[in-house]
Symmetry: C2
Subunit: 218 residues, 2 copies
């Protein structure tokens, strides 16, 4: 099972990394568009152009394939869309605003909302298998931690004194996740802009922030 | 196909409404716990104790059954959990806070998070079929409208002058939906409390609210 097939002269059949990547590409796309349960291994093999033996060599079970999609592809999507921009931004609030606006613009240009890769699989798979649930929860945790850490950076720079880092992170991730759920259902990314503007305009304010504004010189 | 089976003396086999309700109960529970695609009609029939003919009489297709679950059961769950409490509350903000706290308490007592019935099916079915998507989007719309209407009531009573009703509603529904997604994935309802507290403590505040607080007598 783990033996590599011989490469025959003149016919290169042995490209295990390319094959593994092709299977992950096809599985990722299908799990997001149709869902895990609605994606058959036969369809995935046909779409990736691989044999059952080759698939089995890399992913002995459908579950192993889904775990690889979650741990490699979904984690990378959250890293690229959220975590890297948060680390690079001038502040946590600027980061949150920037990601919402960037994703809304991207979806409007694309003209189609497939939803958040993490939330799509979290809804389908969290109750299906404890290993899926653990892998998915771990991505939510890393995502929230990056935002909470950014609030702590802000606080070290004298800002956000009235903000609880963990709660701010939970609210940011929840708002985005829920807005993407609505955007997918209505096929309208405008709800992302509504939500991030509502976050900015919220009142009543926390006492510390009001005190700061009231007591600051005009 | 639409003919009703004869009732035989001494054996009451004809209770079409009871049978329909039983099938909906079983389908609702299975779609929420395992998902639509992972629920086979055979399993549903066995769990409900009905024949294929009886099932077919009420729900000619699996899609018809899912639409009935969405339009009757999921809509009723959103009405009961959100819309009725929002209408009965003293203000929109009190309503949102109250629902988050009530659901968190209920889930903690239950010791298990199955997720939001609407979001669970929205993630799995929005891209699967346009009729599913329309039915699900309509429930999100009614939910948001009830919250926006409550903000308008608040405004007529002189409150929430700086709040955009539609945006407030979008943020409330998004935050709840995303928090339930995380609660399901982590099996911890505490994130609902984190989110609603973050909504209350958010800063910086909107200018109108700050002005109001700054200029109010001590």
């Amino acid at each position: 099972m783990t033996a590599r097939p011989k490469v025959r002269p003149g016919k290169r059949t042995n490209d295990p990394e390319g094959l593994r990547k092709r299977v992950l590409d096809v599985a990722e796309a299908s799990f997001q568009a149709r869902g895990y349960h609605a994606s058959s291994l036969g369809d995935l093999m046909a779409a990736a152009g691989v044999t059952g033996g080759a698939l089995h060599h890399h992913f002995p079970t459908k579950k192993a394939l889904a775990l690889a999609v979650i741990e490699e592809r979904v984690a990378a999507a959250v890293e690229e869309t959220w975590i890297a921009p948060v680390r690079a931004a001038g502040s946590a609030r600027e980061a949150v605003r920037g990601v919402f606006e960037a994703v809304a613009t991207e979806l409007e240009q694309q003209g189609f909302v497939r939803g958040c890769p993490l939330n799509n699989l979290a809804h389908e798979l969290s109750l299906a298998d404890p290993d899926f649930r653990t892998a998915l929860a771990s991505i939510f945790s890393v995502w929230r931690q990056a935002i909470a850490d950014k609030i702590r950076d802000d606080q070290q720079a004298g800002r956000e004194q009235g903000t609880d880092p963990q709660r701010f992170a939970a609210l940011s991730v929840a708002t985005y996740s829920g807005a993407m759920s609505m955007a997918k259902t209505t096929q309208d990314a405008g709800v992302l802009r509504d939500c991030v503007r509502a976050l900015d305009e919220r009142g009543p304010c926390n006492t510390a922030a009001v005190r700061q504004v009231c007591h600051s010189p005009d």
